[in-house]
């Protein structure tokens, strides 16, 4: 059996690859958009150079 001119197994590898790359997007849509679960934002207390963040 062929799909788009290639064997079914090869076609499934293409589908699996797209699904694998989309795992994060699927999770984000279901958990954070549909279910509305908030994303925790930790406080940053240092700069990229590892120095403490100065309070304004």
């Amino acid at each position: 059996m062929t799909v788009l001119g290639m064997p079914l197994e090869m076609f499934l590898v293409f589908v699996a690859t797209i699904l694998a790359g989309s795992i994060g997007a699927i999770h984000y849509v279901i958990v954070h958009i549909i279910l509305g679960r908030p994303i925790e934002e930790p406080l940053t207390d240092q700069t990229a150079a590892g120095r403490p963040v100065e309070n304004e």
């Binding site: 062929t2 001119g5 090869m10 690859t17 790359g21 994060g24 997007a25 999770h27 984000y28 990229a48």
Partner: protein, 477 residues
């Protein structure tokens, strides 16, 4: 030497000029070392997503992968690309862990989980070697392509490309890199889609293209190719490339550079969708390229030249210009990111360890000087590069995954693992993984399995030996 094509050459010159102008503008926006390294930790979702996409697609992708399809068919989808895409999909789930420990580079994270600052320069050297090798690969691909399509000799072209990307990366750091990535990423995705559409229409439809591809050799459309992969070999490839996504310095830096955890999640999630679809299209483009060259009687000795030959010998110039833009975008966006990583790793992970009181201005200067140094040396090596693009690509995948994947990410989730055990595991994975690879994987046992097994064993032994030690606490040394 082929004749100089004025249209392709003009396209190339205009493209580089625009990129340099963005670099000049970014220089004016770069005031602090945080700006230079992590965009002031203010990357929004659009910029972050396209920067990730553009950085991910490289000369390996557009030239190496299409060359691999030309030689071995669609099996590269199984042995390499599936692992990469799975890696991006799963990277999404460790974003919280990475952001929660408030660190900015992979060596920073390793120092945190091992409790030893000494791990920073050690891991930094490994990552520096990886980024530098990647730079050489990118420059080789870029030089090969641009020389073939413009007709300008390789030894001159490589220095032109090297010079341009060094200048704009040095000028604006991640500000330059992110904004040029936005331009390059969108161009690349659009142009590759258009190129595939043209080729598919030219050949007579997607099913006809694949049918003709299979008619050349049925193994070209088999998941494991015509003996290209064994099942165990494919699994090893998937694991090795899966691991690189987690252990590339630039991916960790981008997660740190986003303005929030929400943006970090969105950019990885969106980039995963864009990249997985784009890679599927790219591999189909490889099949169409092979069919077109085969039908036209054009045989290519060096598989890395399959796509450049298609552009120069098969496509009309107008279509070729679009494809050149896509390829240049892919190559330069990855090159600047790796060069930027070299600068960060040298200044933040290595220099800062030996001079912890260095001012931010000094760290930025060290980043810029090291960016120039590693850029120039990579360009010099690329004039006469060792191995094909894909060989170098696989080599560094084994190194990164064997050394870092298991100990670092396990330690992120299980913080009571002794730091000494993690260091032992990193060393064992790196040495045995690379050693096995250099011995050309005796007994048919893939190097990444040996590296990961060694890392796991060392972790278990270290856990028993130092298991009574208290949980790691970062030292101030």
């Amino acid at each position: 030497m082929s004749e100089v094509n004025p249209f392709y050459l003009a396209t190339f010159v205009i493209y580089l000029t625009i990129i340099l102008l963005i670099g000049g503008w970014a220089y004016l926006k770069t005031n602090t070392v945080d700006d230079f390294w992590v965009y002031g930790k203010d990357l929004g979702p659009t910029l972050a997503t396209w920067s990730f996409v553009a950085n991910f697609v490289s000369s390996v992708s557009v030239i190496g992968f299409i060359g691999a399809v030309y030689a071995d068919g669609y099996s590269i989808m199984t042995g390499v690309i599936f692992g990469l895409m799975l890696g991006i999909g799963c990277l999404y789930f460790v974003i919280d862990k990475v952001r929660n420990i408030d660190k900015f580079t992979l060596p920073d994270i390793i120092a945190e989980v091992t409790g030893s600052q000494r791990a920073r320069p050690i891991a930094g050297v490994v990552l520096l070697a990886n980024a530098w090798i990647y730079l050489i690969m990118q420059l080789t691909g870029a030089g090969l392509l641009v020389t073939t399509i413009t007709g300008v000799p390789y030894e001159y072209m490589i220095w032109v490309i090297g010079g341009v990307f060094i200048i704009y990366t040095v000028l604006g750091g991640l500000v330059s890199v992110a904004w040029t990535d936005l331009l390059q990423g969108t161009l690349m995705v659009v142009m590759i889609t258009l190129a595939l559409a043209y080729m598919i229409l030219d050949i007579g439809g997607i099913a006809a293209t694949n049918a003709q591809f299979a008619a050349i050799n049925p193994g070209l459309v088999a998941p494991l190719g015509d003996g290209v992969y064994t099942v165990i070999g494919a699994i090893a490839g998937i694991i090795a490339f899966f691991g690189t996504v987690f252990t590339e310095q630039n991916n960790i830096v981008r997660i740190s550079a986003t303005d929030s955890v929400k943006t970090a999640k969105i950019h990885i999630a969106a980039a995963g969708v864009i990249l997985s679809i784009m890679y599927a299209l790219l591999i189909l483009l490889g099949g169409a390229t092979t069919v077109a060259l085969y039908n036209a009687g054009l045989n290519v000795e060096n598989v890395d030249l399959a796509f450049p030959v298609l552009i120069t010998e098969y496509l009309p110039t107008t279509v070729g210009i679009f494809i050149i833009l896509a390829i240049l975008s892919g190559i330069l966006s990855t090159t600047d990111t790796r060069l930027h990583s070299c600068g960060i790793t040298t200044a933040r992970d290595i220099y800062d360890y030996f001079d912890p009181n260095a001012s931010d201005q000094r760290l930025m200067n060290i980043s810029r000087v090291s960016t120039i140094f590693f850029g120039i040396t990579a360009t010099a090596i690329a004039v006469d590069p060792p191995g094909t693009i894909l060989e170098l690509y696989a080599w560094r995948a084994v190194l990164l995954t064997s050394a870092f994947l298991l100990p670092v990410y396990l330690a992120l989730y299980k913080r009571d693992i002794p730091g000494e055990a993690i260091v032992l595991s990193i060393i064992a994975g790196a040495v045995l993984g690379m050693g096995w690879d250099l011995l050309e994987a005796p007994l048919g046992f893939p190097a990444v399995f040996v590296g990961l097994s060694a890392a796991a064993l060392a972790l278990a032994i270290g856990n028993v030996a130092w298991g009574s030690s208290p949980a790691p606490t970062p030292t101030a040394d």
